[in-house]
């Protein structure tokens, strides 16, 4: 059997990768995908801990997080679409109307 700590390490790697991608990527959709990866890293951690504690709570929490991520995706993609209609671009460096 694969030890549980492997899953935990994988989840930490995913979370860190998501954080880095959020800061270095310039494309709004890719930034959004980075956030989704971070949420899924949290899901993996929850499942791992639920398994190690032999409790179902963690697995139920995962369903809540999946639902929340879906709801966020709806609003987020709508906003990105709105930006694309107005500016014909979805690069984050083009969002420069407000500064200071």
């Amino acid at each position: 059997m694969i030890p549980l700590s492997y899953f935990l390490i994988l989840s930490i790697i995913l979370f860190v990768l998501g954080t880095i991608a959020f800061f270095i990527k310039k494309d709004l959709i890719t930034m959004f995908m980075a956030v989704e990866i971070m949420l899924n890293a949290a899901n993996l951690a929850f499942i791992t801990f639920a398994r190690s504690a032999n409790s179902l709570d963690g697995q139920v929490i995962v369903f809540f997080i999946i639902t929340v991520a879906a709801a966020e995706a709806v609003v987020g993609l709508a906003i990105i679409l709105l930006i694309f209609r107005q500016k014909k671009t979805i690069k984050s460096e083009d969002l420069t109307l407000m500064k200071g």
């Binding site: 989840s11 959004f32 890293a41 791992t48 407000m98």
Partner: protein, 478 residues
Amino acid sequence: MNSFLALFPLLIIVFAALLVLILEVFIKKENRNYLAYVSLFFLIICGIICGKFWDKDYSYFDGYLFLDNFSIFLSFIIIITTFFVILLSMKYIFLQDVNYGEFYSLLLFALSGMMIMVSSGDFLVIFLGLEVLSISSYALAGLRIKDEKSSEAAIKYFLLGSFASAFFIYGLALLYGASHSTEILSIIDYFKSETSLSLMALIGLGLVIIGFGFKIAVVPFHMWTPDVYEGAPTPITAFFSVGPKAAGFAVLLRIFYPYWKVALNSQAIFWLLCIISVLTMVVGNFVALRQTNVKRILAYSSIAHAGYLLIAILAQDNTSLVFYLTVYLFMNIGAFAAVIALGKKDREYLELEDYAGVGFKYPWIGATFAVFLFSLAGFPPTGGFLAKFYVFVGAVRQGLVPLVIIGVLASLVSVFYYLRIIVYMYMREPSTEIEIYIENPALFLVLFLCLYGVLQLGLFPGNILILVQQAVSSLPLF
């Protein structure tokens, strides 16, 4: 007491939100004000019911949702905020072309999210409430869909908000792994007993604090605040600056009131909060000095106020914290009401130059705005002075003297930019004449209610202080 009644205030708000959404289909565009009246009606009912539940201590869902005095008081604060914001919006959405039926409904959904946040002691439920609030807020910020600034505000808010949520939920995962529970009290209980896994739990708590730091806009997690506040429709900005902040600090209080009692391991978190508080006060106030847009000045001022509020958290001074939030509600909504008052069809006056001479041309707006600014700066006899005074005195009693010195100096700096607006209003010759749409009784009602609130809390705070003390004494400890 376990009772279905505990859900009542929340059900009323959600029902009102859905009702407004349905009614919107049947009501003509010119008659959209009726939607505001419906929302106000349900808010009043909800407020009355919350008042009836004072001291009753109802709870439901195995204690996952409860209405102790603290959550009722915080619910009052956010219900009054929403009430004022709806009154402010009634004319604004016609003048500035934000006249969509979803406006009031989204506001009510955001309110329901905040009510979930303040009335739960479980991190998972708090997370769900936070997301209900956040997702409605993203949509609200971008509601002025023809304005590119508004969409830009929405996307910035959305990306950084969901990024912060990911931090929060990962922190919660670590806390769950360490303590096998998502309830605040049992997590803190774990901090008291165990030491073997405590580094993981400590990192988890740190990530949770970072997640909340984004929501309550503390430095260095404040980057989104000025842009979102500038781009969003102004009544929504007023809503963002008070509502989510009150709900976020309520949750922080629920975490840290028991947490400080557990001396073990608390040093790292204590210093983390200290540094955040100092940075927030210094950066917030100094960057505000070089802003010329009034909405941005108020945005940085609201960042700075989060710093003072963190001092109260550090000093374990619950009464002053809640009192500060109450005063902050009246003075900040009042200041934004004055900003909203200066506008006409498809035009808002937001630059400092536009305010030249306003004090003489529109004496009522100028005078009330000046009172709110004095209150934000902390001059007696306004509520802002007493609120700051209580926070600083409480901190000195706890021995946090260096923090208080920085706080006092920072608020001295803040006097400069608050007074600058007043100087523009009363001592500058106007270069261009501004015209405003004056027939706005709801807005003037808000202005005078806020003025009354600020002066009442500054001169005779006794009754409110008693209520606040009853509220915080109901906070659960082990």
